[in-house]
């Protein structure tokens, strides 16, 4: 490579360059980016509510490509097509074709168009990626390692999605003494479970090391203080303590842990928790919840309104990389879900790292929310995709910045 620099110097001659050379890595224009997604988006109209959380997430990403900006309340504003792309074709639930907006305020995107195929199953997306039929697709975290081993180019974000166990169901109607007894029992059960669950094993075996064990409500990369909430595997004293706690509750039957029946990761984790609980002498069984993925309620942990489960698994994605903003959003979900009816402590507008730590400690000491693991967002990329960066919390797919390199082969593996 450096030998080639001699060519550069020869070109500029004895005057020594006065004009900057251009880089070979400067983005190139043109081409069609092929994207496959699992969700089926019924409408791109921001006013039309999505049927599932997965659809809502993808719809938000597509809308962010065709709308220039948001209102102060986070709603998309302006005309469709004012963003970096405009809709060229749309078939509800099947496909969308977006064309580059030549007059976009921040400059025309590098690719000419984006083709989005919807409703593709996870295994179909991986196969298409391996066959170079697609340039960008989402990969489930538990499949990331296998995909990389098969030669797929994988891009993962910082772990920003919390998989947690939350207690559900209210007891507002109960008498004061019954409520106190109930709360104490839930707290003891939560503490026993928290001590018994082997989070590291979930990360190592179920997630194939794509993720991090979670002890707190924020990941270490965001708060810098997650190490104060240990998430080590349970020790013998931990298991003994869990058994002791469980004996004090002496429930009449097994506790029921609900999980989203459409989420294979939740199912695996729920089954693992049942095994962990058994090792600590606790009676717990996992139960699939068919409607768990519908609407936004699942993400709030509002839980099983039917009352068939005592606790359920939730996946909460951070809305911002900033710890105070992300925690504020989590607290809103917690105090409207598992801690509904409990008075929230004051959370300052400009929260310090110590405020953030104390808020987490206050929630976790109730054991109504038991953090399990942090999950990254994982994407599979074709070799020609350049300048892609897995979006962090609150960020969009950076498809206006992505360009397609048809000349330079890019190494495979995890980025």
């Amino acid at each position: 490579m450096l030998r080639r620099l001699a060519v550069v110097s020869a070109l500029v001659g004895v005057t020594f360059a006065a004009v900057p050379a251009r880089s070979s890595r400067r983005p190139r224009y043109g081409g069609t980016l092929r994207v496959e997604i699992g969700a089926a988006v019924a409408s791109l109209d921001p006013d039309v509510e999505a049927a599932t959380a997965e659809e809502a997430a993808v719809k938000w990403q597509i809308d962010s490509l065709i709308f220039d900006h948001w209102d102060a309340d986070g709603e998309f504003a302006g005309a469709a097509g004012s963003g970096p792309f405009r809709v060229k074709a749309f078939e509800a639930g099947k496909r969308a074709e977006l064309a580059a907006n030549e007059e976009f305020r921040e400059g025309r995107p590098f690719v000419d168009s984006i083709e989005i195929s919807m409703g593709r199953a996870a295994h179909e997306r991986l196969v298409d990626l391996e066959l170079s039929k697609v340039d960008l697709t989402e990969i489930a975290p538990q499949d990331a390692r296998r995909a990389a081993e098969q030669g797929v180019r994988v891009s993962a974000s910082q772990p920003d999605e919390l998989l947690a166990l939350v207690f559900v169901g209210g007891n507002a109607a109960a008498t004061s003494s019954a409520r106190t007894t109930n709360q104490a029992a839930r707290q003891a059960a939560g503490q026993a479970l928290s001590l018994a669950i082997d989070r590291v094993a979930i990360v190592n075996f179920i997630l194939q090391k794509t993720g991090e064990a979670a002890g707190g409500l924020l990941p270490q990369w965001s708060s810098g203080t997650a190490f104060l909430f240990p998430a080590a595997p349970p020790s013998a004293p931990d298991l003994a303590h869990a058994k002791e706690q469980w004996k004090q509750i002496a429930p009449s039957g097994a506790l029921v842990l609900g999980y989203d029946s459409a989420d294979p990761l939740e199912q695996s984790v729920a089954e693992r928790i049942v095994v962990n609980a058994k090792e600590a002498g606790m009676a717990l069984r996992a139960q699939a919840m068919p409607g768990a993925s519908a609407g936004a309620d699942k993400s709030r942990g509002a839980g099983s309104q039917a009352g068939h489960v005592d606790m359920q698994l939730v996946r909460w994605r951070m809305t911002s990389p900033l710890p105070s903003v992300a925690l504020k959003d989590f607290l809103a979900r917690i105090y409207s879900g598992p801690l509904a009816g409990v008075e929230a402590g004051a959370f300052p507008e400009a929260a310090s790292p110590e405020d953030i730590y104390k808020q987490q400690r206050a929630v976790l000491s109730t054991y109504r929310v038991v953090p399990l693991v942090w999950l990254p967002q994982v994407y599979g990329l074709s070799a020609r995709v350049r300048d892609w960066k897995a979006p962090g919390p609150g960020e969009n797919w950076p498809l206006a910045d992505v360009w397609l390199d048809t000349e330079t082969p890019t190494p495979t593996g995890v980025q």
């Binding site: 550069v8 400059g107 105070s324």
Partner: protein, 379 residues
């Protein structure tokens, strides 16, 4: 929000502000003797504090919090652990500064051996990093409360590490100096030094839609003028723009500016309409040359040409500037590269031989930073 970062680009404060050296010989002898007596007995906490002010403030706050939680009547064992990207030397500096602050609050710091043998309070301080910046966390445990949860004290520290990234090379020694930093994207910058008539130093920052001027006054860059650059709605995503080497002209896609750039009041810019469709812009002016951006100049080492070259990664990655020197017809790497916290978006020859200007998109802070890179010959 604009702010200046480096005032003395062309003024060497070490020479300008140096006091008279006229000390009598006997003072020199005494000082040297004191130095050799004192150095072997210095302790960690007695090292002169090399931390920048914001870090000192953070350390002071943490010391205040520890002092509020612990009685100074009992010895305190201080341990500092680093789980952040801070270097060992920087961590040592934090440790030293904190030890100093605690001593100033009348704490008796126990050595680890004493701490193990006697009843002391332990403060384990962890230097960590979050999205907002560094954090200093103290876990304070009294020997009488070993079964209890430790008391926690947390303070936030700056986003940037205490010391700048500086690497020395063996042959071509590269150094970078931060000149300008702002949240908004800019393409290039240029500094006109102090004028002969006593006029102030002038900084011009070329943004895609304006040319901003700043004058150096009262120790900082003050905004003096902003010249809008009318742009068509149609523009490339990565507009190309830079000042020419001597600062007499600037180039910006689709725009023509007239007047003397060093005299802002004479400068006017207008869209030319001769705007190339970005699709037809060449991706590289030197097809087949598979390097990052590069500038070539006369080497500060005699008889050689020299080059500065960026890395070849994506604009989503950190970058490096590597120096090279020509021997015969070939360039070979010379000295160690210097790192940047984000991609180098612009690399252009500086106004002085052996220098270059770079614009970096700092991925940690999100800000755009302008540096002058200087290559000197290290023999």
């Amino acid at each position: 929000m604009l702010r200046w970062r480096f005032a003395n680009l062309f003024h060497d404060s070490r020479t300008l502000m140096r006091p008279s050296r006229g000390l009598p010989l006997r003072f020199h002898v005494t000082l040297v003797a004191l130095f050799f007596i004192a150095v072997p007995f210095r302790t960690l906490g007695q090292i002169s504090n090399p931390l920048p002010q914001p870090w000192n403030d953070a350390v002071r706050k943490l010391a205040d919090k520890i002092a509020a939680d612990v009685s100074p009547l009992k010895p305190l064992s201080l341990e500092v652990k680093n789980i952040s990207p801070l270097s060992a030397a920087e961590t040592l500096n934090v440790h030293g500064a904190l030890a100093d602050e605690l001593r100033n609050r009348s704490f008796l710091l126990a050595s680890p051996s004493i701490a193990a043998a006697e009843s002391v309070t332990t403060a384990q301080v962890t230097v960590s990093q979050g999205a907002d910046g560094y954090v200093l966390v103290a876990e304070i445990k009294s020997d009488s409360e070993t079964k209890n949860e430790p008391q926690i004290a947390i303070v936030s520290a700056p986003k940037l590490a205490p010391s700048a990234n500086q690497t020395s090379g063996e042959i071509l020694l590269l150094q970078k100096r931060l000149i300008w930093q702002q949240p908004e994207k800019f393409l290039d910058f240029f500094v006109w030094p102090l004028g002969g008539s006593g006029s102030a130093s002038l900084l011009a920052v070329l943004e895609p839609r304006r040319l901003a001027y700043y004058e150096f006054q009262d120790g900082g860059w003050r905004s003096s003028r902003s010249i809008p650059i009318p742009r068509p709605t149609y523009q490339p995503r990565n507009p190309d723009g830079f000042f020419e080497k001597d600062g007499t002209r600037l180039y910006l896609d689709g725009t023509a500016c007239t007047g003397e750039l060093a005299q802002p009041e004479t400068v006017k810019c207008k869209g030319t309409g001769a705007y190339e469709n970005p699709r037809t812009l060449p991706s590289t002016a030197l097809e087949g040359v598979n390097v990052g951006q590069a500038v070539v100049f006369e080497s500060p080492c005699e008889g050689h040409g020299a080059a500065l070259e960026t890395g070849t990664g994506d604009w989503t990655e950190t970058d490096t500037i590597q120096g090279s020197q020509s021997t015969n017809d070939n360039f070979s790497e010379s000295g160690a590269p210097i790192g940047t916290d984000g991609p180098v978006l612009t690399l252009v020859p500086g106004s002085v031989s052996g220098t270059a200007r770079i614009v970096v998109h700092n991925l940690k802070t999100g800000e755009y930073e302008g540096y002058v890179v200087t290559a000197t010959c290290s023999r």
